[in-house]
Symmetry: C4
Subunit: 210 residues, 4 copies
């Protein structure tokens, strides 16, 4: 325990290192979000209008995943604003989380190309479920290992509060639902956006940061 | 309103967070601009000279989009130099803007491969129209929500001035024109470069920053 | 010698330049780790379930390489935290190292697609052997050329200690073993993860940083 | 003129903006260098050994371009260490330079796939000629417009000296030579590496920075 403590790095004392971890995360997010465009492909030759006509799914998947990655990044960004220290376990948890964030361009392509097959929808939902849970694990760990900034302890509800759980549970529930109706699963995700935002706003209003 | 105000972050107090948002934007721009090269593809085997001969369109599209993304980034870069605070709405507007910036490698590939079909030209113009308008919305919001630096208020004309509107309008007009003559639409874009620059220089000369 | 000394840059005096080199390295790592997702490809059309069924190898290769790149980055990150000065030779060594780090998405794709052929397994092991050795060369050079921070000299064992050698030797040994049994070679890598971590923890515990 | 002067930004006063430009350049370099790996492709299925056998050209092109981009980045990195101010013209010159740096993954792929056709070799040389000249133009402009740091004026020979011209001239000469013997052109590039380095070392030794 004491040995572990010794390898906890204070943000102020190791600002460069902390920034490097955060910059790495930002790098993965910005690359993954920009790689999404590679999921949109048109075969060469032929009539463009007809080729585009049956690509509605792909465009929907592109914008959905862009919005999802943007929101995940924002949540990560806000949360790490309240982190004061880091240790190697937090870095590992963050890397596990990033492995599934970086996978999203793949599940997005699958959703775009096979949106009518239930499996594609279920796997997309599974990807986001893992990402959501991995984020909750990070938050829980940071509060449990007391790595937060002193002035952020009181805002715990904002980050570790029910909003993240609601998101994770909805994504998890949409996995089996995808096999019944992929449209219903998709609508659940979209509602998530607005509900998640509303919950976040609510929490923020209750305990607004200075 | 007051509640919203409370979540406005001063640039000085949250320099790290501000820089992170700007760095994320720069990341998306630099990745998108470098991904453009993936739109240039040569099938393996065969006579290289002949393969390259009918790829003039693709090279034109590459250099056009490189120049467009470079100018967009410069404009973003200059504008954010005058932003003093940010709130979550500005971040959302910026992410919406980035979703269409990151789409440009796709519309560029379409323009390179299908430059002779009016639809490709029109969609490229539509992409840039949305980007231009999304940028104007950001500028307008920043000035309306008073997120600018105090010493930048007087330079409003430079950023929120007519130049951006001219660019957006020309791109919008080139959409229908593309269906009449794709060459005319392309020439409109190119003229934009010089007119846009001239307008910018004009505004800059009128109110030069210290 | 004296001439060489003169071009050694103190980290404090050239913090910006030092950070730029480190940021470049981080950039290559974050791009390579995010490009791994491009090794996962599904041909369009057909039954998704069957298409995914025989892609176990590819997913295994994706997560293995993500973990490998993450660990390499962490090791690089920790090591450079103890570097105080840099010279052009260290930069060159680091770039050589990066050339093989950036190659990993290729060998990963090969491992994913040809995991049943011994050659693919052997080449993946060869890639990691070169990376490990190139890292050891950097560490050795930094200590020999006295580019470390004064307070890091005593932690030499942690970075230049036996752990890195064990990793390099195991990867090197797995090359010939791959031709006998690719499964055995793969298991050697996986055991590396846990042994490498255990050795690192051991070294860290012996000489914990302040 | 005076108007132009007014928009020159001092590095110290606008450190953030300067860093953003440099970071953007680094971003393009690190992405381009990591995208090189995408030029290495193996068709799925078949005997891996035979597939790799005739890919020597591709690997040669990968490592050559990695080394070229690394050296270009280092030269850029060193040069910008002596730049004190920037103006919009320097930014434009830098972006022009980057457009051809970012093109290198394409010409690399061409060289890897069509190395036996003279045209591929000539175009690769042409790409590097343009990059070299665009770099010289930047250097010349920076010294002419007095954007250098005061203490760097005396080191002009190091950056604006003959070494860059030698490199540019050799690349330019290798274009016509490629049509006679692509091997001779390739050898010219490789010799460049050592001659260029020797010249650089020579200049550095003559006027070593503090």
């Amino acid at each position: 325990m004491a040995g572990d403590q010794s390898s906890v790095h204070e943000r102020e004392h190791a600002e460069t290192e902390f920034n490097r971890i955060v910059a790495f995360t930002d790098g993965v997010f910005s690359i993954a979000i920009t790689l999404l465009v590679l999921t949109l492909e048109i075969p060469k030759g032929g009539d463009l209008e007809r080729l585009l006509a049956d690509r509605g799914n792909e465009f929907f998947a592109y914008f959905l995943s862009f919005a999802v990655l943007a929101r995940l990044w924002l949540a990560h960004h806000r949360f790490y604003g309240s982190v004061a220290r880091f240790d190697s376990r937090l870095i590992t948890l963050n890397l596990f989380y990033l492995a599934f964030v970086a996978l999203l361009p793949f599940t997005t392509e699958m959703l775009g190309n096979y949106g009518s097959q239930e499996l594609a929808v279920a796997l997309y939902a599974a990807n986001l479920t893992i990402v959501s849970v991995a984020f909750i694990v990070q938050i829980t760990y940071v509060y449990r290992a007391q790595l937060v900034r002193d002035d952020a302890v009181e805002f715990r509800a904002r980050f570790a509060g029910p909003a993240n759980w609601v998101i994770a549970i909805v994504f998890a529930c949409s996995i089996p639902i995808a096999f019944v109706s992929s449209t219903a699963a998709t609508l659940m995700w979209l509602s998530m956006f607005f509900v998640g935002r509303a919950l976040g706003d609510l929490a923020a209003r209750k305990r607004a940061p200075r």
